[in-house]
Symmetry: C2
Subunit: 221 residues, 2 copies
């Protein structure tokens, strides 16, 4: 058990170092030797967990998919909003999430399949929309997979724009704004009227989760 | 006059080469010497037009801002759709536009101000929305600058997602989809019902412009 804990900590240390190096240099310029120095682990340990740079990158990409399940709400659309706003908040506050998002938009990452996070998030949002549909929260004729694609693609751009123009300072306002413009094409008016999509929503959920699950789960992110 | 033409052609050749090199290597790894070889011009000519790598990048970034004014329509919202769909079509078909868009999302371009194209497009879309507002095509309470920001940010992400998952093959369908989800929060229903936002719209406008203005204008892009 102690051994397993240590292996997990080593893996996490390597991933954190990889995230740092990928964010600083981009995929192309990142080197395993730089990640080694940053992580302060042995070559053997690194290759045991991640046999190649691509494996390291997929590990970082995958970290943003470690979904924190948001608390249940009366409306599934609120859970969707909470999931999106929490992701935006984590992007702003957690280096690992930020590195994953940025890596998935790294156009110079030749040979790295970056479609995973897009597919994953489209699936996550699609499932929430399907549940909302079953509860009659969606407008008729909404195709949940299409709406999910639009939301996920749009989110990626809104965060990129926020990074380019304000270094993420205006991220939460922009994401809240995006939801305010897209959701009226998705949810029925009565649900929409009841949903809270103000920009401090993400921080509220994060605090709620921290209280519920202990500080550890969020701190390792 | 002939001299000016030649200078313009040289400038364009340098920009095309820069676009190619930036797209292949990203901003960080691109070198002036590689751009020189690709362009096949003298060092003096290059430095005359662009004194530094950053000037070259700004030149490429700026090229996507060379707005092709779309033909006038009965509804300003249709002109907005046409502007967006034409940009998507050009992104798919013109290397220079693609290089500009990609450069504006190049997170490793340390020291390069990438906010220009975002600000420019937000302005362009904002002006069209203001005109639409004056003609009562917008829903009450729409803040045109906010709607413009959402559209521009969302567009950036939708194109990045399209690149990551399909190498731009599904770009036009995705952009058309984005407009279908955002515009109902922007335009009044009667205008919305009259607007054509099918995915072949961009190609139609491009053909229209080519017929109107001669082939040259589009071919240099």
């Amino acid at each position: 058990m102690v051994k397993q804990d240590r292996a997990l900590r080593t893996r996490q240390a390597i991933l954190s170092a990889a995230a740092e190096v990928f964010e600083e240099r981009g995929y192309q310029m990142a080197t395993i030797s730089k990640i080694l120095t940053t992580a302060g682990v042995t070559k053997g340990a690194l290759y045991f967990h991640f046999p190649s740079k691509e494996h390291l990158a997929q590990g970082v990409l995958h970290e943003q998919d470690q979904l924190l399940p948001v608390p249940s709400r009366s409306y599934k659309i609120q859970e969707l909003v909470d999931t999106v706003m929490l992701h935006a908040y984590r992007l702003q506050t957690e280096p690992m999430v930020r590195a994953g998002v940025r890596l998935s938009l790294d156009q110079q990452a030749h040979g790295l399949d970056r479609s995973g996070p897009f597919a994953h998030w489209t699936e996550v949002v699609g499932v929430l929309l399907d549940e909302a549909l079953a509860r009659r929260e969606l407008l008729p004729h909404v195709v949940s997979s299409e709406a999910a694609s639009v939301l996920v693609g749009a989110f990626a751009g809104v965060q990129a724009m926020s990074q380019a123009v304000s270094d993420y300072k205006d991220l939460l306002a922009r994401v809240s704004s995006l939801l305010a413009y897209v959701l009226p094409s998705v949810a029925v008016p009565s649900v929409l009227a009841a949903v809270d999509l103000t920009q401090d929503r993400g921080e509220t959920i994060a605090a709620e989760l921290r209280q519920g699950a202990g500080v550890l789960d969020l701190a390792v992110g």
